[in-house]
């Protein structure tokens, strides 16, 4: 077997320690090694944003990140937001506004939205669209996603 490096990561509050090949992508580490299939891979070259997750509080493309780069990091994937019946505010807003169709881009969208709500004012529709511009969606035409973001009360605690 090829050279492997031991890494420790916290994913959705749980600590994992695994040996990985240096070339293993973070997206594949989560999906194949940890079996957390909620993170979706849409392009593997950092454009579509489907694989976006939160790493140490920032939205990150997991297809452009190696698993070894995540050593010591705290990661939140879509599985860590909220559960059916206990949606997070972002999940609730997406559900209420019909902000998803096939749902393939949704995990990445949620990560981007949570990050943007923490860091950006998002006062206007144009700002919301700009914040979402790095995540492609082919189903919704974005309108209901924009609506969902605009309806989330940014003052509310615990947005993720």
């Amino acid at each position: 077997m090829a050279f492997e490096k031991r890494i420790r990561v916290t994913v959705n509050g749980r600590a994992f320690e695994r040996s990985v090949e240096p070339r293993l992508l973070l997206s594949d580490f989560l999906r194949e090694t940890l079996d957390l299939t909620g993170t979706h891979v849409g392009c593997e070259h950092g454009v579509c944003g489907a694989c976006t997750l939160l790493m140490n509080g920032d939205s990150v493309r997991s297809c452009l990140t190696l698993a070894v780069q995540a050593d010591g990091a705290e990661i939140i994937t879509v599985e860590g937001h909220g559960k059916a019946g206990e949606f997070s505010p972002a999940q609730e807003a997406f559900h209420a506004c019909h902000a998803l169709q096939c749902g393939f881009c949704t995990p990445g969208m949620l990560a981007t939205v949570v990050d943007a709500l923490r860091k950006l004012p998002l006062d206007s529709e144009a700002e919301v669209r700009e914040a979402l511009a790095g995540n492609l969606c082919r189903c919704t035409g974005y309108q209901h996603i924009v609506d969902a973001v605009l309806t989330i009360n940014t003052k509310e605690e615990g947005i993720s």
Partner: protein
């Protein structure tokens, strides 16, 4: 359909909970122990003879289970051929792996099976293929000429399909009138680009002689019907599952070589084999769209009445005629739909579908109609401009009027009554058309380039068995099945042949079943996307899911209620005609006795002796199955109006406003209807302004990443306003018209017309889409030079 508690209401989707929490299950999320991964070595030549293939090094690579070429799978499948009744049609057998010759960049030549995808890709790199390059056939127009090199040896020409529609006398119509407009229109090649690329996983259970194919497909029924024949597996032992599917838009409606191959390999290694396409493979080898040249001419009298239209279409259908739709699917429908919702007495449309060194052309959202609508709507605006008429008025003059339905179009299609005029007027009212024209005049006076674009069109949705979804195609796309069964608690499980790839059909069909049965929606479960669900199913395409699924559901609910009445008659000891069913219960006419569904089901199934055995034996399980065939199709229509501003210095086109008024009949769920329209419009904006698959003269693909193939982002799409005027419902079951493709069909034309309207002061008419910044720059530059020459 009677408006019930759920139908017509904005019910939040039941799919959402799993999709929002990561509990969804797409094909790549399915875990079967021991699954091997496939990676392909694909052709880097557009047209070449395969001289030799050396797989020795690949076979020695770590983790490799096997390396397969066409020779290694010879005899493992019968030929898969998209046949057709069309005259002069030349079918092309599917190449599962390229044998002897490659015909486009990206065609699969060698398959490597390994323990995981990393190792499979490592080994695929080590395959050595020696090619003898052949003359590339890349330009469809040149390829149609008799002197062109042939893509398929032994063919009469590269023209795979040819068709013609004629009505009246176009020569007379075009000769006589004072006003003519003509242009060569060009719509470039694009791709459906579902965010989930294609993935397929075959599991062969040798001890059971059973094959299961999990595939990200819109049409598990079609895949099953084709592969049981090709692979010679009894239908009872072949199951196709399309679980959660991450978008499709037509790109997942065809049978692909990779789907056949994973089954062949799973059978060979007696296990599970998966292929997960990366984005580059998706751009290289998923079915593509449009790519037509349309030479069209329209003649008009001075009052703006259209007298005649001619259209000569060349469609670039790529290297192979796609299964099952054939190479006719896209280009033939351009001439079928070109006359649109207008009264056109004289029409001549001719089309040739020409094979080139590109991936196969397949169905894409709108199929033919986006291009047909683009051409027709551009011609109308060009004629209106020439005559000094208003674009809206010119359409009102020519559109089929309410008293003229059913209307037979110049290409022979039949429009049943739909709100052509109503939607046109409603959209104009919604956007305050007259005031908008004044705003535009002011903007022009200030030197701003503001444009208004109208597109109005009609399409055929929910097509029954009297018409083929693709011309001359022999498979039946006109029926769908619903199977309902009631369990011992009174809950209903509804199984469907129509599938879902993200539209929300699972929620919509639950709404229909709950209303028809008079039950709570929570007590209805929907199963679809699995060929085990019903005896025969087809899939979701051609705006049929809601029409066919709801129709089948309504028939099945009616039959189930009849059965419940029979059971209740025995249990309540009352004649059947004295029992009514509704609100989740069966009640005798005198109101004395009643049984809820759960009481009835529990007694019927679980109380021994409650129902006389002869009745129970005759009646059987509380389940029914019904097929729905709407026979013809239902017209769906809309008017789109877009407002754009062209920023000259930046060569940027900004879409400022967008309004749609459509006639979609009875809405099952308005949230879903609007979502379908929004998404379709965004894709249409993509086709009008951004999305283009580029190939060079050697057939090399220049846009195999999302950096090169640009799709609209949130800031490229405007806020859209949707209007659904209350109109007479169509006569099909439920009064439903399909809506899935409506957005894309109208948007290409509306945007192109708006851009042309903005550029009208410079004398520019958009005839080529997408209007990328580069094309816009070239048009502006040419007009500047022209102006300075005056």
């Amino acid at each position: 359909m009677p408006e019930g508690r759920y139908v017509g209401a904005p019910i939040k989707r039941r799919e959402d909970a799993r999709l929002l929490t990561g509990e969804s299950r797409f094909v790549d999320d399915i875990r079967i122990a021991g699954t091997k991964s496939v990676a392909f070595r694909r052709s880097d030549h557009a047209h070449a003879r395969i001289v030799s293939i050396n797989t020795d090094a690949a076979k020695q690579s770590p983790g490799v289970v096997g390396v397969f070429t066409a020779a290694d799978i010879e005899g493992d499948a019968r030929p898969i051929i998209a046949s057709s009744r069309m005259a002069n049609y030349q079918p092309t057998p599917m190449q599962i792996l390229a044998k002897d010759k490659v015909r486009f960049v990206g065609e699969a030549v060698v398959a490597v099976v390994a323990e995981n995808r990393y190792l499979a890709e490592d080994a695929a790199e080590l395959v050595e293929i020696d090619y003898e390059p052949l003359a590339p056939v890349t330009d469809a127009e040149a390829a149609a000429r008799p002197d062109s090199p042939l893509l398929h040896d032994g063919f009469a020409s590269n023209v795979l399909v040819e068709r013609e529609f004629k009505r009246g006398d176009v020569v007379e119509a075009l000769w006589r009138p004072p006003v003519k407009v003509k242009a060569r229109f060009r719509v470039h090649r694009k791709t459906p680009l579902a965010l989930e690329s294609r993935v397929c996983l075959a599991e062969f259970q040798a001890a059971k002689s059973h094959m299961t194919l999990y595939t990200s497909s819109q049409v598990p029924g079609i895949i099953k019907d084709a592969l049981v024949k090709a692979l010679d597996i009894p239908g009872s032992h072949f199951r196709v599952v399309a679980p959660d599917v991450g978008g499709g838009f037509g790109g997942k409606t065809s049978l692909y070589p990779e789907e056949a191959l994973v089954c062949i390999l799973a059978r060979k290694i007696r296990g599970a084999v998966k292929w997960c396409s990366d984005r580059s493979e998706d751009l290289l080898a998923t079915s593509q769209a449009f790519d037509e040249i349309v030479d069209a001419e329209m003649s008009v009298d001075e009052a703006g009445r259209i007298l005649g239209v001619t259209a000569e279409v060349i469609g670039d259908v790529g290297a192979y005629s796609i299964y099952p739709w054939t190479a006719g699917i896209e280009p033939v429908q351009v001439i079928s739909f070109l006359p649109g919702p207008y009264r056109i007495e004289h029409y001549h449309g001719r089309v040739r579908g020409v094979a080139t060194c590109k991936p196969p052309m397949g169905p894409y959202r709108g199929v033919g109609r986006p291009v047909a609508t683009f051409v027709m709507e551009r011609l109308i605006d060009m004629a209106a401009r020439k005559l000094g008429l208003d674009a809206l008025q010119m359409r009102l003059t020519n559109i089929v009027q309410p008293h003229e339905f059913p209307y037979k179009t110049a290409s022979g299609m039949r429009w049943d009554k739909a709100g052509f005029v109503e939607c046109l007027k409603d959209a104009a009212e919604a956007i305050e058309y007259a005031a908008l024209r004044e705003t535009q005049a002011k903007a022009h006076a200030e030197g701003r380039m503001l444009g208004i674009g109208i597109a109005t069109f009609a399409e055929l949705t929910g097509i029954g068995s009297r018409l083929s979804a693709s011309p001359g195609m022999p498979i039946n796309t006109g029926t769908e099945t619903a199977h309902l069964s009631m369990d011992a608690t009174g809950g209903v499980t509804a199984r469907f042949g129509v599938t879902c790839y993200g539209q929300g059909l699972e929620t919509a069909l639950a709404q229909v079943v709950a209303d028809e049965m008079g039950m709570l929606i929570e007590d209805v479960r929907i199963i679809q996307g699995d060929t085990d669900a019903v005896g025969h199913g087809v899939g979701a395409f051609a705006s049929r899911g809601a029409v066919m699924g709801a129709g089948a559901a309504m028939l099945a609910c009616e039959a189930l209620k009849e059965k419940l009445v029979k059971a209740a008659s025995a249990l309540l000891n009352a004649p059947e005609d004295e029992i009514s069913v509704g609100q989740g219960a069966l009640t005798t006419r005198d109101g004395e006795s009643a049984l809820t569904y759960s009481e009835l089901a529990e007694r019927y199934y679980s109380h021994m002796g409650a129902v006389p055995l002869e009745i129970k034996n005759a009646l059987g399980e509380l389940s029914v199955s019904r097929m729905y065939d709407p026979e013809w199709g239902t017209t769906s229509c809309a008017t789109h109006i877009a407002v754009v501003e062209v920023e000259r210095e930046a060569c940027k086109i900004k879409v400022l406003q967008y309004v749609v008024s459509d006639d979609c009949g009875q809405m099952i769920n308005p949230l879903i209807v609007d979502g379908q329209l929004h998404g379709g419009i965004a894709q249409g904006i993509g086709a009008a302004l951004f999305e283009e698959l580029a190939y060079d003269d050697d057939g090399q693909h220049l846009s195999a990443s999302l950096v090169d193939y640009v799709v609209p982002s949130a800031s490229d799409v405007p806020r859209m306003a949707m209007r659904h005027p209350e109109l007479e419902k169509p006569e099909n079951l439920g009064g439903i018209r399909g809506i899935g493709e409506n957005g894309t069909i109208g948007a290409v034309a509306a945007i192109a017309n708006a851009v042309s309207d903005a550029l009208a002061p410079l004398g520019i008419e958009v005839t080529e889409v997408p209007t990328t910044p580069e094309r816009l720059f070239r048009m502006l530059d040419a007009s500047k030079k022209e102006m300075s020459n005056i």
